[in-house]
Amino acid sequence: MKLIIQETYGQASEWAAKYIRNRIVHFAPGPGRFFTLGLPTGSTPLGCYQKLVEYHKNGDLSFKYVKTFNMDEYVGLPRDHPESYHSFMWNNFFKHIDILAENVHILDGNAADLQAECDAFEDKIKAAGGIELFVGGIGPDGHIAFNEPGSSLVSRTRVKTLAMDTILANARFFDGDLSKVPTMALTVGVGTVMDAREVMILITEAHKAFALYKAIEEGVNHMWTVSAFQQHPKTVFVCDEDATLELKVKTVKYFKGLMLVHNKLVEPLYSMKETEAESSQSKKPYSD
C-alpha cells in the first residue's frame, strides 16, 4: 500500500486527479484500447472530479477512449432524481468531458431483475478486459462502495440493504427526511474491486479518520471492508491531514517520509497534448 498524505482536502483531491491523469496518459488509450476506470460518488471525490474536468478543458486529458464503471446506485430511485448516482455522475463529471455515453456503465437500480442486472455488470467488466484503476471512497463505517460491515470480502456485485449509519449519513441529501432515503442499493462487491489491477481509495476529513485507522493499522476484517485491500498488490490511499488523526504518529511519519518518492508518480505531470516523440521517452512511473 502507498499512503499519500496531503495537507488539505484540495491538495489531496489534486494529487489524486494528477495520478489518474498520469495513469491514463501513460496507458495511451486509443481505438480498441480503452482505459477502464472504476468511479465513486459522494462528497469526497468531488474535488478530484473538478480537477479532472479542468484537465480535460485545458486539453490535457481526453476521456474519448476511457470506459467507466461506477461502484453503486440506489434501488428504486428514478434515474433522473437529483440524488441518484446517475445524476451525480452526469452533473459532476460526464457532462463536462468528452466521454461517450456507450462507454459509461452505471448499475440500473430500477431494473426488473436486480440480481440479473448485477450479474450483467460483472460480465461487462469482464468484457472490457477488467478494470485498470478502481477509484473509491470509504464510509465512516469503513465500507467500500455499499459493502457494509459484515459484507463478504470476496463478494461480487449484488443487492445490499443499507446500514442505518449509511442511511443517516445520506439523509442530508434528502432534505434531512429519513423516510425519503433509499434503503437498498446495487453495489460492486469487495471481490469485484479486488479484481482491479490497481485500486485508489480517497479518504478525507476527520470523520473518516477512525475508518482509515481500522482499514490500514488493524487486521483484515469484514467489519471494516476497506481493510480487504491490505491484500491487494497495488493500492494507493490518498488522504488529507485530518483523515490521519487516528493513525499512529509512527505510521504518519513513515509515509510522509516517502512523499519525495511517491511524488514522482505525479511529477512530471503528463498531458495528451504532447507529441508522440516526447511520450516515447522512458517515463515509467516509480513503483515498489
Partner: protein, 435 residues
C-alpha cells in the same frame, strides 16, 4: 461517430459557454436543442447514448427565453386597429421587425374601435407559430370598447360602448368573432360585467381590467368571476387612494381566490410610470403561492402562515407600442386618432394625453432593471415567464425548461439582444455594424 440515438435522428445543437435562465436563476449550463424544443442532455446521454451534432460557442452570452409582448398596437407604420387592404402584410411586417427586440411571441392589440373594424380585422388575425418570417402570434388582445369614458386615455370616445343591455351577446356582436382572441380588456364597473367575464373565461380568454374607474370591491368581484390581468397598472385607472385603493389595490388584496394569481402589465418605458411607482408595484405584490417553510411547526410557528411570498411574480412587462414605434418622430395614426411622437413620448396630437409608447420590449426590460434595481433574472422573467403564465402556456413558452419550445435570445450583460431564435433556428442576429 455513428448516430445511435434511439428517439430521433434529428440534429442536436449544443449551445456552450453561456449562462442560461433556468429554475429562476442564471446558471452556467449548456442549452441543448433538438427539433425545435429544449432537450434534456442527461436523458439523451443515458437513454439514447447520444451526443451533440453541432456545438455553438456563445462567448459568455446570457440565454433567456424569448420575450412575449401581450400588448402591442402596431409599429413601423402599421396600426393593428386600422382595417386596411394590406392588413396581413402589415402584421407580418411587425412580427418580423420585433424579432430584433427579442420578442418571439405577441398578441396584436386593437384599441377601442367601431364594430366594422373588428369585423374586418379579426378574421385576418390567426394564431400561428413564429419562425424566420417573424414572431409567433398568440391571439389578439382587444383593449376596449367596453371601457370607461372617464378613463379613455387615447381611445376614441365615440366608439366606447357598454354591454348593459345584452351582456355577452352584445360583446360578441361587437367583435364579430372570438376565434383568435386571447385577451379582452374591459372596465368591470359596467353593469353585467360579471356575466361577461365568466363567459369569456369559460372560453379560455384572459380577462383584463383597465381603462376603468372601478373601486377595489368591483375589481375584486371581477377577479372572483375570472379576471386575471390588469392592463397597464396605474395608467387609465383611479389612482391609489388609502381608503379605496381601486384596481391598484388588487396587488395586495386578500380576496383573490386561492390558487389564483392576478398579473399586472406595466409599460416600463420611463414615461408611463414614474420609477418610484414601478418600484412600489414591484415590491408590493405577493403571489399567494405557498412555498413551504422548512423545519418543524412548533409553538408560535405553527400558527403563522407557513409560506414565503415571492416578490413581484405577477409583473408582466408590455410595450403598448403604437404604429410610430420604430419610425422617426412625427405624426402617426392609432386607430381612429392621430398621435404625435416626440422622442419617447407619444401624445394625442395637440394634447398631453399619453397614447401608447414607442418603446421596444428589450428597452423596457433594461429600463425595468435599472429603475427597480431588481435582479437580471427578475427583469427577464417579467418579459417571458410571467406573460406565459398569464396565458397559461408556461409549459411550452416563456422558459428554458426541457421540452419547451426553443424560443430564446442571446443577450449581452447589459441585456441588449444579440440573436433571436425561434424553434431552435436563428431568426435574427445583431449585425456587426449595429444595424
Amino acid at each position: 461517430m455513428p448516430s445511435n440515438k434511439s428517439v430521433s435522428d434529428a440534429p442536436i445543437a449544443q449551445f456552450t459557454n453561456c449562462r442560461i435562465l433556468r429554475d429562476r436563476r442564471l446558471q452556467r449550463e449548456d442549452l441543448w436543442v433538438r427539433e425545435g424544443k429544449i432537450l434534456n442532455p442527461e436523458k439523451l446521454f443515458f437513454d439514447e447514448k447520444g451526443s451533440a451534432d453541432i456545438q455553438l460557442d456563445c462567448k459568455g452570452s446570457i440565454i433567456a427565453p424569448g420575450f412575449i409582448d401581450v400588448q402591442i398596437n402596431g409599429g413601423f407604420g402599421v396600426d393593428f386597429s386600422m382595417a386596411t387592404d394590406d392588413f396581413k402584410s402589415g402584421i407580418d411586417l411587425v412580427s418580423q421587425k420585433i424579432l430584433s427586440h427579442g420578442v418571439t411571441s405577441f398578441c396584436p392589440t386593437l384599441v377601442t374601435s367601431p364594430p366594422s373594424v373588428y369585423h374586418q380585422v379579426l378574421p385576418q388575425i390567426s394564431v400561428r407559430n413564429g419562425g424566420a418570417h417573424g414572431a409567433g402570434i398568440l391571439g389578439a388582445h382587444l383593449e376596449g370598447p367596453f371601457i370607461s369614458k372617464e378613463k379613455k386615455g387615447a381611445h376614441p370616445e365615440h366608439c366606447i360602448r357598454t354591454f348593459e343591455a345584452g351582456a355577452f351577446q352584445d360583446l360578441l356582436a361587437t367583435y364579430g368573432s372570438l376565434d383568435c382572441v386571447r385577451i379582452v380588456t374591459l372596465a368591470p364597473e359596467i353593469k353585467r360585467s360579471s356575466e361577461v367575464i365568466r363567459e369569456l373565461t369559460k372560453r379560455g380568454i384572459c380577462v383584463s381590467l383597465g381603462h376603468s374607474v372601478a373601486n377595489l370591491s368591483q375589481a375584486e368581484e371581477a377577479v372572483q368571476h375570472g379576471a386575471t390581468f390588469i392592463t397597464h397598472l396605474f395608467n387609465a385607472m383611479l389612482p391609489f387612494h388609502h381608503r379605496d385603493p381601486g384596481i391598484v389595490g388588487l396587488l395586495t388584496s386578500d380576496k383573490i381566490p386561492a390558487g389564483r394569481r392576478v398579473f399586472y402589465g406595466m409599460i416600463s418605458d420611463g414615461i408611463h410610470t414614474n420609477p418610484a411607482a414601478l418600484r412600489i408595484a414591484h415590491r408590493a405584490h405577493p403571489t399567494g403561492k405557498a412555498i413551504p417553510v422548512l423545519g418543524p411547526a412548533v409553538g408560535l410557528a405553527a400558527k403563522l402562515p407557513r409560506r414565503v411570498c415571492l416578490p413581484s411574480s405577477g409583473l408582466v412587462l408590455v410595450t403598448d407600442a403604437i404604429a410610430g414605434m420604430g419610425l422617426a418622430p412625427g405624426r402617426h395614426t392609432l386607430g381612429q386618432q392621430v398621435v404625435e411622437i416626440d422622442g419617447l413620448n407619444t401624445y394625442i396630437a395637440g394634447t398631453k394625453t399619453l397614447s401608447g409608447s414607442v418603446a421596444t420590449m428589450d428597452a423596457c426590460v433594461r429600463h425595468f432593471l435599472e429603475a427597480t434595481g431588481c435582479s437580471v433574472e427578475t427583469a427577464l422573467e417579467a418579459a417571458s415567464l410571467h406573460p406565459a403564465q398569464l396565458l397559461g402556456i408556461e409549459h411550452k413558452k416563456g422558459t428554458l425548461d426541457y421540452d419547451s419550445d426553443a424560443d430564446f435570445l442571446m443577450l449581452n450583460d447589459s441585456l441588449y439582444v444579440q440573436a433571436t431564435y425561434i424553434a431552435g433556428e436563428e431568426v435574427w442576429r445583431q449585425d456587426v455594424l449595429g444595424m
